[in-house]
């Protein structure tokens, strides 16, 4: 299938140096740093340290929406982006929707339908600022409000935007530390390129919080003088906060609705260092591969790049590594480089998206943003970044984002061609040809490994929580002592150990790590580590921080540790999408297999019991919580040699020639992965499933029913509608009775599906053989996913 071109038609941004694209660009033109003394919360240890705090009244600007500060920042940016794109998104109000449709008919313009509009955001801390207060209240004799936990997860911001705009396409969130915003944009591009969505609101957000301030402080990475990227005297980062959202559209969709094209997203590429939990690979190997992959995807060579918006955090290690990687890519022909971090601070999950907006604005204004704080060239880096704002002819701009765990993501934005071409009419949903559906394929599943709960048991709740016992599904002893070397284990969190044990159990005997990609989804992620860090913070008034806990608290430490273990240097992704985190991981890993940038994909999900969540669940009467980790190995369709993205004259083994995909007898095949939003209309849901899998050949529908009456009724109603459509009763199975409720439960369900098609287990209602199983998952936040496993 011809890959679709992707254009940017709208921008929204809020940060320390301004609210809105116009204000931000004015600050950049003036070269005024956005750093100022911290005032959002008080800190004993870092009183009045320079940060990129948003000066605007975020609550007032966000208006009538509920959510964390992070959610509100994201909403403010998304609202601007949608308005600037002229997208008629009016939410769920039917009358407003009808009027939009009518207007577009009179204007003879097509408007993308709501199920073709997605939201993909990157975030690192999510609602941590609120969760910190919750922890403080628990530790003091005062009432803690459990309600704030509903905004804790990184996915909450994307949920909010989807809800407000009525976007019914895939709604995803990624949490890969400092590259999350860029990875979200890359994933959004995949959705559009692969025809799974027409329009995606993509970006990132993060608010300042005590965890990251004290965490980076404990790593001795905060520069008291404010960050000075690439400067010889640089001494660390300045933390920041903000959000940025881009409206990405398929070029023909933008043309059909008459949208103004601001830039083209011409390339994106990801690669993992597989080196260390926090330190970058010193020579910039992973960064270089990510840059090359982005250029290859854009069909450009290094000489085409007219400006690099560097990751440039201001730490000794990052800037040195990035400088080396840039020299390796560009040689002596280095284009102008600058880091715009001093305008915003390091905004973590938002950073990649903010840089994407700056890159597009640089193309629009045909000017180079400066690098405040830079004074003298570091003789080791030998890069003098742009000192002052100046006009320049820019055609292609490269935007770098590198995160903890060696998560490198690079985006390339290009000046749009003068004429975008004819505006074709969009096919209406009814006209779509089923064989064109982008989610049907047949990838061999060559390995499955898991750490499963041993059965229902009870756990003791301890202070600071109210004491009591709660029923849970816990993993107990899961074999880490036997399966992981002591030296490897000593610094890993329990959840990392669970994930690593599952990953080791799924590995085929032979594989080529350089071409392996890893995607591990998670709901609550490393909350236990973050909570330990924050509890310690409150108890000791910020003395004696726990640096190890902090580095373990990033959600992508799971996928990162798996990559280090394997040496897997392909894409490293951490979707945090509530109950469909596993399916999102599977989807992301398969996109890499399909693109040829990997020939082995490890996809899985992991979650562990968290005391706050258990206590909240008890209060709210939620189903019995559980935990577990499951990782699956998938390979390319043919299993034969496959050419892997080759680029330039690199001597890097990673980028050369063709490699052998592992030849292992498959245990089953993955036939489809599809992500979307639950509509509440049973007939529409059944049709969505029937569009993805041939009902005549579907033997079992495996659902995430968990004993919660409202959810179970939804699953039952969809199964019934599906039966009516198929003209026979569809056998329905469930799996949460064995693993409890947790965001990664569908990964357990996936292993049940594999065992069903292999005939290793049978359902009571099953009459014949089971050759094809559809795993259907709904989240309470209205995400849905479907995976089809076949014999």
């Amino acid at each position: 299938m011809q890959q679709r071109r992707i254009v940017v038609t709208g921008l929204g941004i809020i940060g320390a140096c301004g609210t809105g694209a116009a204000a931000v660009w004015e600050s950049i033109r003036q070269g005024a740093s956005g750093l100022r003394p911290l005032s959002l919360f008080s800190s004993i240890r870092y009183e009045r340290i320079l940060v990129g705090e948003v000066p605007a009244d975020v609550d007032r600007l966000a208006g009538n929406v509920r959510g964390s500060r992070s959610d509100k920042l994201a909403w403010i940016a998304a609202r601007e982006a949608v308005a600037s794109a002229g997208l008629p998104l009016v939410g769920r109000d039917r009358r407003a929707r009808r009027s939009v449709e009518e207007q577009s008919r009179t204007a003879q313009r097509s408007v993308p339908t709501s199920e073709r509009i997605g939201v993909v955001l990157g975030a690192t801390v999510g609602g941590m600022l609120g969760t910190e207060k919750f922890v403080r209240d628990l530790l003091q004799p005062r009432r803690a409000s459990y309600g704030v936990l509903r905004f804790h997860e990184c996915a909450a911001s994307a949920d909010l935007i989807a809800r407000q705009f009525g976007a019914d396409g895939p709604v995803l969130a990624f949490s890969t530390a400092c590259s999350g915003g860029a990875l979200a944009i890359a994933a959004a591009a995949e959705l559009i390129a692969n025809d799974e969505a027409d329009v995606v609101l993509a970006g990132g957000c993060d608010s300042l919080c005590r965890l990251t301030l004290n965490g980076f402080g404990s790593l001795l990475l905060l520069d008291p003088k404010g960050c000075r990227p690439f400067d010889a005297q640089r001494a660390g980062i300045s933390l920041g906060e903000g959000a940025a959202v881009l409206v990405l559209e398929a070029a023909e969709v933008a043309a059909a609705r008459g949208g103004t094209v601001l830039a083209e997203l011409s390339g994106w590429g990801a690669a993992c260092d597989a080196y260390h939990a926090t330190a970058p690979q010193p020579d910039g190997d992973g960064a270089l591969v990510a840059m090359r992959r982005a250029l290859t995807r854009a069909k450009l060579s290094p000489t085409d790049v007219s400006y690099v918006n560097a990751h440039g955090t201001g730490t000794r290690d990052n800037d040195l590594m990035e400088g080396r990687a840039l020299r390796r890519l560009f040689g002596d022909a280095l284009p102008p480089v600058s880091s715009t971090k001093p305008f915003f601070g390091h905004t973590l999950g938002a950073s990649g998206a903010i840089k994407a907006v700056i890159s597009v604005l640089a193309l629009r204004h045909q000017a180079l943003p400066p690098n405040p704080g830079f004074d003298a060239v570091d003789p080791e880096i030998r890069i003098e970044p742009v000192r002052a704002y100046r006009p320049a002819a820019l055609t292609h701009v490269m935007s770098n984002s590198f995160g903890f765990g060696g998560n490198n993501v690079v985006l390339v934005f290009s000046k749009p061609p003068a004429v975008v071409g004819q505006a074709p009419r969009l096919p209406s949903p009814g006209q779509r040809q089923p064989e064109r559906l982008p989610y049907n394929f047949r990838f061999p599943i060559v390995g499955a490994g898991a750490v499963n709960p041993v059965g229902e048991t009870t756990c003791e709740m301890r202070a600071p929580l109210p004491s009591g016992r709660a029923p849970v599904f816990a993993c107990g002893e899961f074999g880490a002592e036997k399966e992981l070397p002591v030296a490897r284990r000593r610094r890993l969190s329990r959840l990392q150990q669970m994930t690593l044990v599952a990953a080791r159990r799924c590995l085929p005997a032979q594989f080529d790590p350089a071409h392996a990609c890893v995607a591990i989804g998670t709901g609550l992620g490393s909350l236990n580590e973050a909570a330990a860090f924050v509890e310690n913070l409150w108890r000791k008034d910020e003395r004696e921080p726990l640096p190890q806990r902090f580095t373990n608290s990033v959600h992508n430490a799971l996928a990162g540790q798996v990559a280090i273990e394997l040496g897997a240097r392909g894409l490293n992704s951490t979707p945090t999408c509530h109950e469909i985190s596993f399916e999102a991981a599977l989807w992301h890993a398969l996109r890499e297999l399909a693109a040829g940038t990997a020939n082995l994909a490890l996809a899985g999900a992991a979650d562990e019991l968290n005391p706050y969540a258990v206590a909240a669940g008890r209060r709210w009467g939620l189903p019995v919580p559980g935990e577990g980790a499951a990782v699956f190995a998938l390979t390319t369709t043919d299993g034969g040699p496959r050419s892997v993205v080759a680029a330039g004259t690199s001597t890097d083994a990673m980028l050369r020639g063709s490699v052998q995909a592992p030849r292992v007898p498959p245990m089953a095949y993955l036939h489809a992965v599809r992500l979307g939003r639950y509509t509440g209309d049973n007939e529409a849901e059944a049709r969505w499933i029937a569009d993805t899998v041939d009902l005549a050949k579907l033997d079992v529908l495996l659902t995430g029913a968990n004993g919660w009456p409202a959810l179970d009724a939804e699953y039952a109603a969809v199964a019934e509608a599906l039966g009516r459509m198929a003209g026979r009763k569809i056998v329905v199975g469930t799996y949460k009775q064995w693993c409890g409720e947790h965001a990664s439960a569908s990964a357990f369900g996936f292993s049940v599906a594999i065992r069903l098609v292999r005939g290793e287990v049978r359902l009571a209602e099953q009459t014949g053989d089971c050759r094809r199983v559809a795993l259907y998952t709904l989240s309470p936040h209205a995400q849905k996913a479907l995976c089809v496993v076949e014999h």
């Binding site: 404990s218 790593l219 001795l220 990475l221 008291p224 001494a235 260390h276 939990a277 926090t278 330190a279 000794r316 002591v486 030296a487 000593r490 610094r491 003395r543 004696e544 921080p545 726990l546 640096p547 190890q548 580095t551």
Partner: protein, 90 residues
């Protein structure tokens, strides 16, 4: 000094969860990082916390930590020099 060195060995093993290492295995002049015990930058930061907790020495710059932690003996010397001072490298 020798007493401080022995004390430090025990504390390092406990703080860094070095299950396979006995305090006596750590040689005074052996490099703590890279080769030797195979510790890395995150372990160094855990030792920074140990200095703050047990000796009241606050290290604020990576460069200071890098020099102080070359070996157990260097660490002991660093502690002797800075004990009682409230901060270093501010």
């Amino acid at each position: 000094m020798q007493q401080l060195i022995e004390e430090l060995k025990q504390k390092i093993v406990a703080a860094l969860n070095l299950q396979e290492v006995k305090p006596a295995d750590i040689k005074e002049d052996e490099p703590l990082f890279g080769a030797g015990l195979g510790l890395d930058s995150i372990d160094a930061l855990e030792l920074v916390v140990l200095l703050e907790r047990d000796y009241g020495i606050i290290v604020k710059e990576q460069e200071v930590a890098r020099k102080a932690f070359t070996s157990v003996r260097a660490l002991a010397t660093f502690i002797e020099e800075h004990r009682g001072q409230c901060s270093k490298g501010a």
